[in-house]
C-alpha cells in the first residue's frame, strides 16, 4: 500500500469511527460532536482524493454550519436522562442496515480504481473538451468553475433557485411558528 493510500485509509477509518460514534452515543450533544468529526474526516478524504472544491463544502457545511444548526436545535429539546453512555442496539435495524450496506458494497468491485487512466471519466471526450478548451474559452483556470458557471451555467442557475426557494420556504414556516 502506498503512503497516500495509507493516509486515506487512516482518514476514512476516522470518519467511519465518527459516524459509528454518532449512531451509538446516547447523548445528543455527544452525537453531534461525533457527527462533526465524521464530516471532518470525510472532508480530509476529499482533499486526499484531489477534490478540494468538494472538501471545502464538506468542511464548511457538513462540519461547520450543520453542527451549529444541530446545536441550536437541541438547545430547544430535552436530552434523555440516565447515565448510559451508549444507545441500546436494535438488532433488527442492524440487520436492515447490514443488508443495505451489503448491497452497496457489492457494487464497489465494478468501480474503476482511483485515478485509473482508463476510467470512463478520464477517457470521455467531454472531459477532454473541458480540459482542453476551458481556459481559452472562459479565461478561467479552475476547470470545475468553468463547468459550473459557464458550460453548465443553466444547471447552476437551477441550483441557486433551489437554494433560494428552499430557504424562503423554511424561513416563512419558521416565522409562522413564532406567531402561533
Amino acid at each position: 500500500m502506498t503512503t497516500e493510500g495509507l493516509v486515506l485509509a487512516v482518514v476514512l477509518t476516522f470518519g467511519a469511527a465518527g459516524s459509528l460514534a454518532a449512531i451509538l452515543l446516547r447523548d445528543v450533544l455527544n452525537a453531534i460532536v461525533a457527527f462533526a468529526a465524521f464530516s471532518f474526516g470525510i472532508a480530509a478524504a476529499w482533499v486526499l482524493l484531489a477534490a478540494p472544491d468538494v472538501a471545502l463544502t464538506e468542511a464548511a457545511v457538513g462540519a461547520g454550519i450543520t453542527t451549529v444548526f444541530f446545536l441550536v436545535t437541541i438547545a430547544k429539546t430535552v436530552r434523555p436522562g440516565g447515565d448510559r453512555l451508549l444507545e441500546r442496539i436494535e438488532w433488527r435495524s442492524v440487520a436492515v442496515v447490514a443488508i443495505l450496506v451489503g448491497a452497496l458494497l457489492s457494487t464497489v468491485g465494478s468501480l474503476p480504481a482511483v485515478g485509473a487512466a482508463d476510467s470512463a471519466v478520464a477517457t470521455s471526450p467531454v472531459t477532454e473538451y473541458y480540459l482542453g478548451n476551458a481556459y481559452t474559452e472562459t479565461g478561467v483556470e479552475n476547470a470545475v468553475t468553468a463547468v459550473l458557471a459557464a458550460y453548465r451555467g443553466f444547471d447552476t442557475f437551477g441550483e441557486a433557485t433551489v437554494v433560494i426557494s428552499a430557504g424562503v420556504a423554511v424561513l416563512l414556516v419558521l416565522r409562522q411558528e413564532a406567531y402561533v
Binding site: G139, A149, G153, A160
Partner: protein, 162 residues
C-alpha cells in the same frame, strides 16, 4: 456535557477573544474563496458557507440576539434576493444581446468578459447561500431568546429547559 445552560447565552471571555481574532480572517477567507473560485478551488457555494460561518461565530460569541440586531434582517433578505437577481440578470442580459442564456461571449469582451461574468455569478451565488444560511440560523435560534428577555444578559443557569 453540563446541559444546564442549553440555549441561553453565557458570556465567555475565551470565546469572545478567540472569535474577535478569528472571525475577520474567516470572513476574508470566505470572500477570497468566492472571488478566487475562478483560479483556485472554491466558488460561490463554498465562499457563501464560509461567510455565513463567520457570522455564526460572532453570534455564538456575542449573543445571537445582539448579532441579529447588529445585522439588519433587511440585509439578509437583500442578499438572498439580490444574489439571485444578479445571477438572473447576468444570464438574461446575454439573451437580450442575441446570445444564449449565460453565453458570456455575447457581452463582446471575449474570454476576459467570460471570466468576470463568472466571478459576478459566483458572487451572486455566494450572497444567496450566505443569506439563506444566516437567515436560517437566526430563525432556528429565534425561539430560545424569547424566553430570556434581553438575550445577552447573563441568564440564570439553574434548571433544564422544560
Amino acid at each position: 456535557m453540563s446541559g444546564s445552560d442549553g440555549g441561553v447565552y453565557v458570556e465567555s471571555t475565551i470565546i469572545m477573544t478567540t472569535v474577535r481574532a478569528v472571525a475577520p480572517f474567516v470572513f476574508t477567507f470566505g470572500l477570497f474563496v468566492m472571488f478566487h473560485g475562478a483560479e483556485s478551488a472554491g466558488g460561490g457555494f463554498q465562499g457563501g458557507a464560509l461567510v455565513a460561518a463567520a457570522v455564526l461565530l460572532l453570534a455564538f460569541a456575542f449573543g445571537i440576539e445582539s448579532t441579529r440586531a447588529w445585522l439588519a434582517s433587511a440585509l439578509v433578505r437583500t442578499a438572498i434576493a439580490g444574489g439571485g437577481a444578479a445571477f438572473a440578470i447576468i444570464g438574461l442580459a446575454t439573451v437580450a444581446l442575441d446570445g444564449a442564456f449565460l453565453e458570456y461571449v455575447a457581452y463582446g469582451y471575449g474570454s476576459t468578459g467570460t471570466k468576470y461574468g463568472i466571478e459576478l455569478v459566483e458572487l451572486g451565488i455566494g450572497a444567496v447561500v450566505s443569506g439563506v444560511l444566516v437567515g436560517l440560523f437566526f430563525s432556528l435560534a429565534g425561539g430560545d431568546f424569547e424566553l430570556a428577555p434581553g438575550g445577552d444578559t447573563d441568564a440564570e443557569t439553574g434548571g433544564e429547559e422544560p
